[in-house]
Amino acid sequence: MKQRTAPFVAATDASHADVAVRVRGVTKDFGSGSALTRALRGVDLDVPYGDLLMLVGPSGCGKTTLVSIVAGTLEPTSGDVVVLGQDLCRMSGGRKVKFRRDNVGFVFQTFNLLQTLTAVENAAVPLLIAGWRRRDAVEAAADVLDQLGMGDRLPNLPSELSGGQQQRVAIARALVHAPRLLVCDEPTSALDAENGRITMELIQNVAVQPGRAVIVVTHDSRVYPFADRIASMEDGRVDAVASGPFPVGFSQG
């Protein structure tokens, strides 16, 4: 586990060149009139390259909305979102699809694996979306699964894998096309402690790299020690961004 020294940093401290994700004054409203719900109320956040940032906060505070906007799957109502040097707010729908395809990897809470594809086929999906030939995509996916200790599970269907193994397939799928931004939504919430720890170690050891930023949305305080920084959200705003080390972990229960 990496050790961190600086306790707290302001949201806008990182320089432009080092920043993978820059969010400024982002708001997001759902519905209209009397049914209007303000999910985000002016969020500012930076995520430098090489960082593993965790978004934490109570349910309904806007974590998922924020990460959806950063990943380019949801439009903000107002504000600026620059990811990997690209202004997402000024990007057309088609370009945003390509942007996600080429630059963003996803790990979902419920894995979202295709139940009728084998482990290696699931891991190959982003490459197939990018237009790779099936054989090449499957070979590349097999390599990544091998790195994640799943080399002996390539032909297994998701239903034949444990939750932890399914999440490893999901991580392989998220990394197979070498994205520069990895977005993980509650990656350990459906796992037991042991598998949660293994999953976070894999994310930290394999996914966190100098040219890539990782954002993890979580409720699980046991994973905090794996974070470089933790952004705490409350009522649609980022309250504070803290730098590690963070004391609570799986070993402490």
Binding site: V97, L114, V125
Partner: protein
């Protein structure tokens, strides 16, 4: 990604079989019913098709189809012969007669009277006896299906006798012949003999069979015959279609079969559409995940359409195959009319394409509007 789409589809066995069943159901019903319809239509013109040789049929102007006999005066034959462009013309009798069998029973029969000199219009499939035997007194040739209808289970035997219009008829030949719409036995005889078998009437000539001289377009010759004699002259094909058209317009056959075909189409669409939609809804999060990972709407659209096409091809193949199997079976085992021309296959294919498109469209709408952000919602 088509490969992924197909694996998604085929992997969900229950839904896949449900969708395929819907398409197969529709394809079987459409192909089978349309083939029986075509079989029936084909029976209506079997006697025109069986009369080989003449390119032109001349008849009373009010005749609407082949069984609608309005006799002509014998002199009309000579008038037709005198029309420029006519190579030859012969009389042809067609009528119904009642035969009294030796067993004392009666049987309705179709009597076809061939020109005494040329036997034009004689059956081509004689397998017992010969056309020349028609020269014998009271001679008739009967179709094999008619023989078996009159003498079921008995071996073919020449020399059998029966009476028509108090005149003796002697069986001198048995032939293969296309079944007719009325399903009565068919007896072929000389024109002069047929007239004697028929109930006495002032006019007896049913048709004049003719042909155009080499180099003369038959349609033009028909026009000339019409202009000079006032009779109706049609080429063989024109008469075929005139007869079919009559049954299409004047009988309830198309409506009855059309309703069954429509029901098959609607039920098939409902089953396939609903099951395909449920399959899509079941996989909506997966489609959302694919979108989040960068699959464009076009890619998703193509995936869903390819799933529909896959189901359509399998369902069409199975459906048409089963319908063909049915046809093959009933042709051997029963007297049900069944004829599957390429048009039936094309009609079934079009229906399956429409079913698949309707089923896909319901699903396409669902997957196109799904937000990729759906995957972040627990």
């Amino acid at each position: 990604m088509l490969w992924v789409a197909w694996k998604m589809l085929v992997g969900n066995r229950v839904k896949y079989l449900g969708i395929v069943f819907g398409v197969v159901f529709a394809a079987v019903l459409i192909a089978q019913q349309a083939s029986i319809f075509c079989g029936l239509m084909s029976l209506t013109v079997s006697q025109i098709r069986d009369v080989e040789g003449p390119g032109i049929w001349v008849m009373d102007p009010n005749v609407q189809y082949v069984d609608d006999i309005k006799p002509l005066a014998d002199t009309e034959l000579f008038r037709v012969k005198s029309v420029p462009g006519v190579a030859w013309a012969v009389p042809f009798y067609k009528g119904l007669g009642r035969a009294r069998l030796q067993e004392g029973t009666y049987e309705q029969m179709i009597i076809l009277g061939l020109d005494d000199a040329t036997y034009i219009g004689a059956p081509q499939g004689i397998f017992l006896g010969s056309v020349a035997d028609l020269r014998k007194p009271d001679a008739v040739i009967m179709d094999d299906a008619g023989y078996q209808r009159i003498w079921p289970g008995q071996p073919f035997r020449l020399g059998r006798t029966f009476e028509m219009n108090d005149r003796r008829a002697v069986l001198v030949g048995i032939t293969k012949a296309s079944r007719t719409f009325q399903s009565f036995p068919i007896v072929y005889t000389r024109y002069s003999q047929a007239v004697a078998f028929a109930p006495p009437e002032r006019k007896v000539l049913s048709f004049v069979l003719a042909d155009a001289q080499p180099g003369e377009p038959p349609t033009e010759v028909c026009q000339r015959i019409k202009a000079r004699t006032g009779l109706q002259a049609l080429t063989r094909d024109q008469f075929l279609w005139r007869t079919i058209q009559y049954y299409l317009e004047k009988s309830g056959i198309p409506i009855n079969f059309g309703i069954t075909v429509l029901l098959g189409f609607l039920v098939g669409t409902a089953i396939a559409g609903q099951t395909f939609y449920l399959f899509t809804v079941e996989n909506i999060r997966q489609y959302g995940a694919l979108k989040a990972m960068g699959a464009s709407n076009w890619m998703i659209l193509w995936m869903v359409l390819s799933q529909g096409m896959q189901v359509g091809i399998v369902g069409y193949g199975l459906g048409v195959g089963l319908a063909s199997l049915f046809g093959w079976f009933v042709k051997g085992a029963s007297r049900l009319a069944f004829f599957m021309p390429w048009q039936v296959l094309a009609l079934t294919a079009v229906a399956v394409v429409v079913i698949v498109l309707v089923a896909s469209l319901l699903s396409i709408r669902k997957v196109l509007v799904v937000e990729p952000a759906i995957v972040f919602r627990g």
